[in-house]
Amino acid sequence: MSSTIVRPRLAPIRTAPRRAATWQALLRADFVVQWHQRRSLVMTVAVPIGFLFAWKDLIPTVGAHAVLAICIAVGLPAMGLMGYSQIIARDREKGVFQRLRTTPTSTAAIMGSRIIVQLAVMALMTLSTYAFANLIDGITIGAASLVLVVVAALVGGMAFLALGQCIVALVTSAEAVSAVGRLIYLPIAVIGGVAETGLLGPAIKQAVGWSPIGTTKELLLAAMSPDTTTLHTATALAVTLAYGIAFAAVGIRQFKWSVH
């Protein structure tokens, strides 16, 4: 038998694909994952609608727009503290991110795609809550105000996503992230939400007014009636952004892509 040494064929050398293509692939996959998790999506959307029913009787005393604003504000941290942080912690623990990071994709795109999906869910939750408020309680806001309400919800939602990022950066195991998220959600959302209605007294209402829930509610309320915007609204916007930046700074700086 004769033996021949062959020159190997060389594979074509590639360059990284266009950013748009990788973003498109990530967004499609993350929206598909969200769609496959539609049961939890329904639960997420149902939280503020549940509060809307529970606090229906407060409308005459607190005001229709204020109740709607509080309900939306209470729904936002559920996504940041329990939805987003838990998905990130679980995928990190399973090594999903390690595999994604070995592709020609930037880490900003990997995380950015997930944040965009969460923001889309927040917008859906806001619109669904308004639709129910309109159907059940006859609460109405103009089209321009509705757009502003969605924008305000996204600004407040970013602060809660940043808080979720902060938790997943500081806590390693997925189980612990889940526990911490629930522990923080209770005081932030429930106590914050109830205090905003005034049921816990004026002193607590004032204190909660500068919490992430309080400032988000203030932004939502101002968005529903833009002509009533005051310096307090501008301060609430600045404080909400400050929360978001502070949480994001810790969350991004301390985040580890792998727990192994």
Binding site: R7, L26, A29
Partner: protein, 277 residues
């Protein structure tokens, strides 16, 4: 008589610019990696040529996975240079990764994605335009045609491993990195896997792998490096390493039979770090 068409591994062992005049697809030069004050890899150098399976062997904690992480651009070296198809991994990480196919020790996909959607995602990430029909054809070629709608987490070990290899090779990369790829596979799945890897090698691609199975390393690797305590202590073809170390006292002490194996040499050398072949 039919002439054989295999590459002669000895010609790959001489220098980066090997006897065929072909530049290596991976070059690692004087690599030093540290986690804080703990040095994981120190002064590691090797190269992998086209048409070659190169094994990086070492005990747990020797620095194999750290070295792979640096090649993937996930770990910044304190010192040294890594190039993939001539591209500096740390200057142009995305372009370097576009030429790498990677199968990690614990590869995992989003648990809610189906097998079809996993392929769709990774095709997009590597910039490979695949239609639905293309994806179904690809799944059929890896015997996952019936599993397209199944969640990846529900696949058996062998099926999952075929999916992982498909995501690593769907962009036809010149260089494939495999981190302990056959862990947990049954003998049939292992044999199928190595047959695929050898076919990829024979098509001119290069493969760098880590494994704890000395038997597999001896059978499939054209060359290996044994790494211990972050340093390369032996490099060459498996048989060359066995032949040049069989008379060492520590290797003879590790040998359980008269016939010295690669495993005996591995155990002998890694029990006495600092030996070079």
């Amino acid at each position: 008589m039919t002439p054989t068409t295999t590459l002669d591994p000895t010609i790959m062992a001489t220098s980066p610019q090997n006897a065929l005049g072909v530049a290596p697809l991976l070059e690692v030069e004087d690599l030093r990696l540290a986690y804080g004050r703990r040095v994981a890899v120190d002064g590691v150098s090797f190269f992998v040529s086209p048409g070659e399976i190169f094994g990086l062997l070492g005990p747990n904690g020797a620095g194999k996975t750290s070295t792979l992480s640096a090649i993937e651009g996930l770990l910044a070296p304190e010192r040294g240079r890594i190039s993939v198809v001539g591209i500096d991994v740390h200057k142009r990480p995305l372009d370097a990764r576009a030429n790498l196919g990677i199968q990690l020790q614990a590869t995992s996909f989003q648990k809610d994605l189906s097998v079809f959607e996993v392929i769709q995602l990774y095709a997009g990430l590597y910039g490979v335009p695949l239609t639905s029909a293309d994806i179904r054809r690809l799944l059929a070629t890896i015997d996952l045609g019936d599993c397209a709608t199944m969640k990846s987490g529900h696949l058996s070990g062998g099926q999952f491993q075929r999916l992982a290899l498909a995501t690593a090779t769907l962009h036809d990369p010149p260089l494939l990195l495999l981190d302990e790829p056959t862990t947990g596979l049954d003998p049939q799945a292992r044999r199928q896997f190595w047959a695929k890897i050898e076919a990829i090698r024979d098509s001119g691609r290069a493969i760098l792998l880590t494994t704890h199975s000395m038997e597999e390393a001896h059978a499939v690797c054209d060359r290996i490096s044994i790494i211990d305590h972050g340093r390369v202590i032996a490099t060459g073809s498996p048989q060359h390493i066995v032949d040049s170390n069989r008379d060492r006292a520590e290797v003879r002490a590790a040998a359980r039979r008269a016939d010295v194996t690669l495993e005996d040499v591995f155990i002998g050398l890694t029990s006495h770090a600092g030996v070079a072949a």
